[in-house]
Every structure is written in structure tokens, then in C-alpha cells.
């Protein structure tokens, strides 16, 4: 009984001190890299929003489909790169992730968050939307959000890549990427990403693109910066 207690105490102490250490160290290593693709990507089609005149007026010329966002130099935007193995485990974040519905578009297209991290969904449009996440392991839900309705506060309790859809505007499509780790980056328009504060060690890095799937590679971080580039194979259409 008593021994058990001491063991518990020890474990707890170690854990907390470890956290203190990670928190104390301002900048560990950073992983940077670029995500590109080879081959011809699917055409990004212009979205016909004529159902919702308000949104149609906002986007002239019309925005294009975002399932594959190719940039100059065959870079890929909105690819999520994260540590999928080797991570020491990181305390869940408490700052809420904001997800906007604006001009019949999801902003950002891909929202990355940690398990149990608060997620707030806003409707900035003068028309109603419905948010319909289609998870397989988490619980599915489907709520409409009339204009001026309060934000929807929610969170996800299991890691998953969750496709999100608005049925009222079927072209509205995005992703909730729910991760166990706090070490992740999302590629920008130039296809580059940065993962900060990575303690030294050997990690498995995974890059995920909603259309082209995932790729992994080993990366070793020792104090300074490490680089990891990914190259996806694009299928036409």
C-alpha cells in the first residue's frame, strides 16, 4: 500500500518535473521542410456558388476547389506535417482553435488541433450554414448555425482526420485534423512548414494531404534545425 503510494508520488513528480523542463527550455530544435509533388495534379475547378448570390458576389473570379492546392514550383498547400512517433507526449493545449465560415468557405481549409483542445466554430455570413463533420472513430454530429447564432463550442476526444461538410453549401468542404502531439506544422502557399520546440531526439514525421494520403520519414533533431522534405505523387483527375 505504502510502497504503491510512493511509486505513484515518484511517477507524478518525474512527470511534472519533465513538463517543467520542456516548458522551461524556450526553444528546442525546429524541423522545417517543403512539400512538393510530382506528376500532373487534379485540376482545381472554379466553384459555382450561384445558389448563394451573396457568396457568389464576394468571390470574383470564383475561388477554386481546395482538395489539392498546388502552388508555383509544384508545392502543396495545407499539408499537415506532424510527429507521429517518438514524441515524449505533450500536455493538451487549452487555447481554443477558431474555425470560420466566411463567404461560404471554411477558413482555414484545414484546422489542426490537439485531442480535447477547445474548438470554436463561427458563422460570419448573413446566411445559415450547417456543420457536418463525418468522423469514423469520434462521434458524428450535424448542427445548423443560422446567421448571428452563437459560436459552436466543441472538441474531439480521439485523434482522427475528420472531413467537414456544409450540406446547405455542398462545395464547402474542410478538415479537422485532431492530433495527440503538439508538434505539427501546416504548409503555407509556398509549401513550407515549420515545427518548433522539438526536444532533441529521433522521431517519425508524417505528412498528410487530404487527397494524396500520408507519407512518413525518420528525422533526428539535435539542438538546432532539422529539415525534412516530402514529395507526393499526384494522380491526374
Amino acid at each position: 500500500m505504502r510502497t504503491k503510494f510512493f511509486i505513484l508520488l515518484a511517477v507524478f513528480g518525474l512527470a511534472s518535473s519533465a513538463m517543467l523542463v520542456t516548458a522551461a527550455r524556450p526553444a528546442g530544435g525546429t524541423i522545417t521542410g517543403k512539400v512538393t509533388f510530382t506528376g500532373t495534379p487534379p485540376k482545381m475547378k472554379p466553384i459555382d456558388m450561384s445558389k448563394e448570390p451573396y457568396c457568389q458576389k464576394l468571390h470574383n473570379p470564383p475561388i477554386k476547389t481546395q482538395d489539392v492546392e498546388a502552388g508555383p514550383g509544384d508545392t502543396l498547400e495545407d499539408v499537415v506535417v506532424f510527429i507521429s512517433a517518438g514524441d515524449q507526449g505533450s500536455s493538451s493545449a487549452s487555447t481554443p482553435v477558431r474555425y470560420d465560415q466566411k463567404g461560404c468557405q471554411y477558413i482555414p481549409h484545414v484546422a489542426v488541433m490537439m485531442v480535447d483542445q477547445p474548438l470554436q466554430i463561427y458563422n460570419e455570413d448573413p446566411n445559415a450554414h450547417n456543420i457536418h463533420p463525418l468522423p469514423k472513430v469520434n462521434a458524428e454530429w450535424n448542427k445548423s448555425q443560422p446567421p448571428g447564432a452563437p459560436p459552436i463550442d466543441t472538441k474531439w476526444d480521439k485523434p482522427e482526420f475528420i472531413s467537414v461538410k456544409c450540406n446547405i453549401h455542398p462545395w464547402m468542404h474542410g478538415y479537422f485534423v485532431v492530433l495527440k502531439t503538439s508538434h505539427y506544422g501546416v504548409t503555407g502557399a509556398d509549401g513550407t512548414f515549420t515545427i518548433k520546440d522539438v526536444p532533441p531526439g529521433k522521431y517519425t514525421l508524417t505528412a498528410w494531404q487530404e487527397h494524396m494520403g500520408t507519407q512518413t520519414q525518420e528525422v533526428t533533431v539535435s539542438g538546432g534545425a532539422a529539415t525534412a522534405n516530402f514529395t507526393f505523387k499526384a494522380m491526374p483527375y
Binding site: D48, S50, K51, Q66, V68, A128, N130, N167, I168, P170
Partner: protein, 264 residues
Amino acid sequence: MGKFFAILLIIITLVSVYPIVTHMWWMPEVVSAHGPAVDHQLDETMIGSGVLFITSQFVLAGFIWAFGNHKGKIKNWPGGHKPVVAFGIILVGLEILSLSFVGSKVWASMYITKPDPNALHVDVQAEQFAFFFRYAGPDGVFGSIHPDKINDGSGNYFGLDPENDVAARDDIVVGTLTIPVDTPILLTLHSKDMIHNFYVPELRIQQDIVPGIDIPLHFTATKTGKWEIVCTQLCGLGHYSMKAYLQVMSKPEYDDWLKQQSGD
């Protein structure tokens, strides 16, 4: 109390009829070839049943006025019930005959007569909660539909497979039903998920779109302009917001539009 009831009934009847006589709220303009026949049919029915409505309410009011709290010897309907029954059967029978005769002709013209062989063919895909329209494109052939390929995120609302299906590559998919005026149109209605409906009040057309069935629907628009296509079959939480626009253009305008669409 009888007199009060009678007067109230008469007032209610007159107030009820007034907006209909003055067309205070009425059908929108008619823009389809078969539409006027429907309107005519509705007007006829309105007159016939309107007369029935007013007379029966007034008779009821009159009797209540006359015999409310009336004491003394009761009177029987002169001539007994047989004439009344006969009157009812003949009256309604005639109305039925005329209505169903004329009515079925109108109905037949909409649904039973075959569409014009060289009608412009447009494919309609309904889903929660929008319509999308597909034109065959330059090759004049529709690509085949593969449900497993459907992906709204990549704009593949019809489940086309351009990779392996040449006919699908030039198909034009838009969110507004754009058609030339005075041209026979043949729609093929598909639904992805729920039962939806294709309703354009101005066309006087309403047709359910049932998943698993391809339903043909033909009409001819007789006026250029822009109207709403709405869903009238309960299909989920966004039912009230499920709509698209119908854009009727002059023939040349339409040709330009089509060129420009197949351009990109």
C-alpha cells in the same frame, strides 16, 4: 344568437373570398408553354368550387338565421331527401366529369405526351441541399455516373470519371439551370441521397426527384428571365434553403454562354 351566427358566417365567407377575387396573393407570372392550360384549369375549378362554397355557407347561415330558437311545429324539407341526394350526386358528378376530363388532358400534355425528339437534354443532380446541372458538352454525350466517384470537395457532384471515361471529360457542370427560350427542354432528374423536388412556380411544374430512379421531365420556357428552382420535398435540416436559379436566355445569348463554359 342565430342571427349573430348567420351574420358572422356571411362576413367570414365574404372576407375569405375577397383576396381571391381581387388576386391579392396569386400565382406568379406563367412562363411555360403548358402553364396557361394549368392556370385556366385552376380558374375553372376556382369558379366552380367558389360558387359551391359561397352558396353552401350562405344556405347554412340562412337556415340558422331562420330557425334559430324557432319554436312550434317543425317543418320537413319539402319533397323529402331523395331530390336532395340526387341533386348532390348530379351536381358534384358533373363537376367531377368536367374537371377530370379537362384535367387529364392538361396532365397528359405535361407528363404523358413524349418530349420533343431534338429537345435540349440537361441532367439534374439533387443533393442535400442543392441542385447541379450537367450539359453533354461539345461531344453531345453524357459521361456515365459512378456513385463511388462522387466528391463534393473536389467539385465532382455527378461522380464522373474523366480519367477512364472520355465522354465525361467535356461535360459541363454548373449550379444554375441555363436554358434558351422557346426551346423544348428535357431534364433527367437524379438524386444522390434523399427524395427532393424540382419546383418552379412560374413553370407550373413540380416533380419529385427520387434516389435510385431517373425521372424525365420536359417543358418549354416561353419568356427570358431569372427565377428560382426550389425543393418542395422534405429532405433534411436545410430543406428550406435548397434552391437554384433558372436562367432563361435568348438563343444567341445561350450559345455564347455555352461556348464560354466549354472554354475553361
